[in-house]
């Protein structure tokens, strides 16, 4: 009989082992474990978990199938709502979404929905369960810009409806942030990401890499010259932020984007790839989000003693609880309530230290979190040779600045209706980080889904 209070624990690589490799940290459930965990689900009539899911997967229904061992059925249930289950099962913040709403969570641990989703998707992959393309074609063309979570979801949904869809990707590999941002040890590129991209292709979606919309071709040219009936922009939030403190131009200061792109997209951690990466001995990562954790855990695996420097306290860390927990287990040191004042630079222009100041929490600010304020005179120096800035990202203006009639707000985010993705330009839709600023994979997928519906309505009424 399943334990109602506690979940079936999931197997992981031991911290001391995984701190030295780039293999996946979490090993996932096997069949028996998955079925046992699935049996904990109460199959609520008014399933609150579904409302917590940005793409509204019928969670109790798929779990009921897992419980009975009908894994193919389970994967079909998920497939109705999500094109990227193996990704979401790994990187969604379930604790604040589906699992956060689970009734079991009131008295004990919620059902491990994320791990069950992951199991189901992995099982489907290992057993070659492929998605089925649409039978009837609509004879209309849609261009999707960006092959990240928003673009892949929107493209997949439109293809299922019968549209001819082509994705344009600026980089040389499809996947967007799933490829350049999230590291291998959280999201394996070949087995998981490449496979889910393949699945979207099997639905009939075409992907052209190395096309930079706004440079290689504009949106107006796509519509007027290449004959697209509608366009979806899911170009993400790719621009890094820096702090503007002294020493930031020194050698050894990187944006998390650069550090992670070199490591993940360009595979710098592997000897057989040519792109170099800076392997510091002592690395400070500035920031407390998931990207900061990813950068810190990557630096650690490359052999560095690694610190997180964050200006608020542990409670305010924006990163997922699981990521913080894993980072700590692996030996990353957290310097909380500290803010960088200056990067110290040696005579050759390289980083030789980081001057930080202690902070304390004052009154709540507009975000509802207590505002950190400096403690006067509390500066001290951290001995580091590398500083990685993980302060968040903002949307790239390449597309908005080259598309007439496409309005953005003061943060360069594209203005779009959250119900259907419609922008200020007719026939052009947008969603994901390009609209919201940096958020999560699943929210981008939700936006891609909404936009697919919006585009279908638009094209059906034309």
């Amino acid at each position: 009989m399943a334990d109602k209070k506690n979940r079936v624990p999931v197997r992981e690589q031991a911290p001391e082992v995984r701190a030295k490799n780039f293999e996946e940290v979490c090993l996932g459930y096997n069949k028996e474990e998955a079925m046992e965990e699935a049996s904990r689900c109460l199959n609520c009539k008014n399933a609150r978990c579904i409302t917590g899911c940005p793409v509204n997967i019928n969670i109790p229904a798929f779990i009921a199938e897992v419980k009975e061992g009908n894994f193919e059925k389970a994967s079909q249930v998920i497939g109705e709502s999500s094109a990227l289950p193996a990704v979401c099962g790994r990187v969604c913040p379930q604790e604040s979404q589906c699992e956060g709403k689970c009734i079991l969570g009131i008295k004990g641990e919620p059902v491990s929905i994320g791990k069950l989703e992951r199991f189901t998707a992995d099982w489907a992959r290992e057993n070659n369960i492929a998605p089925v393309p649409a039978k009837e074609k609509k004879g209309k063309k849609v261009a999707v810009i960006g092959s990240g979570p928003a673009g892949l979801t929107c493209a997949g949904d439109l293809a299922k409806m019968g549209y001819d869809v082509k994705i344009f990707e600026a980089l040389h590999e499809a996947g967007g942030v799933l490829v350049y941002g999230i590291p291998e040890f959280r999201l394996p590129k070949q087995t998981v990401v490449a496979h889910e991209v393949e699945n979207v292709k099997k639905l009939g979606v075409e992907i052209e890499t190395n096309v930079i919309i706004g440079k290689s071709i504009t949106i107006d040219e796509l519509i007027n010259e290449e004959g697209y009936d509608a366009v979806f922009i899911g170009s993400g939030a790719g621009l890094p932020k820096f702090m503007g403190i002294p020493g930031e131009q020194a050698n050894g200061v990187f944006s998390a984007n650069e550090f992670l792109t070199r490591n993940n997209l360009m595979k710098a951690f592997r000897d057989d790839y040519d792109t170099p990466i800076h392997q510091g001995k002592k690395v400070a990562v500035i920031g407390g989000g998931n990207v900061a954790m990813d950068a810190a855990r990557t630096a650690l695996r490359l052999g560095a003693e690694t610190y997180i420097v964050y200006r608020r306290s542990e409670k305010e860390l924006p990163a997922r609880v699981e990521e913080v927990h894993h980072a700590k287990e692996e030996g990353i040191q957290f310097h909380l309530l500290r803010n960088p004042k200056e990067i110290l630079v040696d005579e050759n222009g390289w980083v030789k230290g980081l001057r930080v100041i202690k902070m304390e929490l004052g009154e709540p600010d507009e975000s509802g979190r207590r505002r950190p304020v400096e403690v006067p005179g509390s500066e001290y120096d951290l001995d580091v040779d590398t500083v990685i800035m993980a302060l968040g990202t903002s949307p790239n203006p390449l597309i908005s600045s080259t598309t007439k009639g496409l309005d953005v707000n003061k943060w360069q985010c594209i203005i779009a209706d959250e119900n259907n993705g419609a922008t200020t330009k007719e026939g052009v839709y947008a969603g994901g980080d390009a609209v919201t600023g940096a958020a999560t994979v699943i929210l981008a997928m939700g936006a891609g889904k909404a936009a697919a519906k919006g585009i279908d309505e638009y094209l059906s009424n034309r």
């Binding site: 980089l171 350049y180 790719g238 890094p240 944006s255 990466i277």
Partner: protein, 295 residues
Amino acid sequence: MYQIVKAEKLADKIFLMEIEAPRVARACQPGQFLIVKMDEVGERIPLTICDYNREKGTVTIVFQIVGASTEKMSWLREGDFFQDVTGPLGKASEWIEDDIEELKQKKILFVAGGVGTAPVYPQVKWLHEHGVAVDVIVGAKNKDLLILEKEMEAVAGNLYVTTDDGSYGRHGMVTAVIEELVAGGAKYDFCVAIGPMIMMKFVCLLTKKLGIPTIVSMNPIMVDGTGMCGACRLMVDGKVKFACVDGPEFDGHLVDFDQAMQRQQSYKTQEGRAMLKLQEGNTHHGGCGNCGGDR
């Protein structure tokens, strides 16, 4: 895949390749660059577009061997493929927006250094095709490293070639030629200088003194080339700029060249090791006890 339709060795360690890349060829303008990636394991390498043929759908690049990746690239032959070519990237030269008739009235000086002759060529050619004759100074270390002389001669108004060692043309640095031309009465409205950073720095120091506005093309370290990584950041007029999206051309009198040259050194150790590995095989494992080896 992007096929190489022409591969030519221009000089010692300097190569020209014409590649089929229709999307880049259709959209590119003088001043812009592209990124090539040779194969699955290759680096993304930014290179200024040296010529383009919109009908044929080809673009031309010229590169110099500076490390392991460019060494491997030099082994490619006509008929071979680049796995990836993307672009055009960066902004076009600002003057292409100017009124042609006004440009014709202006006295323009181009200064090219070494392999920088290649990116200067399409600009001079574009101006020539639009009826604007310009003065061009080409500097090279020696006669053997001089490239595209004939091509440049065909499109330049006046061409002045100089070599550091005097083995061809004039003897001396490009700055000496600028001084000579100005002393001889030439009044330039603006100057475009493209070459090694150290050359651009000294040209800018001189043209600032002479009061000639000067545009330079920066070629710092890059990864994506679309504004994502920030590796190419440099200081222009005290502000952080990304060469890939804000440039690559900037007002040379406002660029902090010393810092840009310092940042250029960021991966020198890794680059050196990669070259060693390419030349001598995988022999370097830190046995010397000094450098820590591969890790």
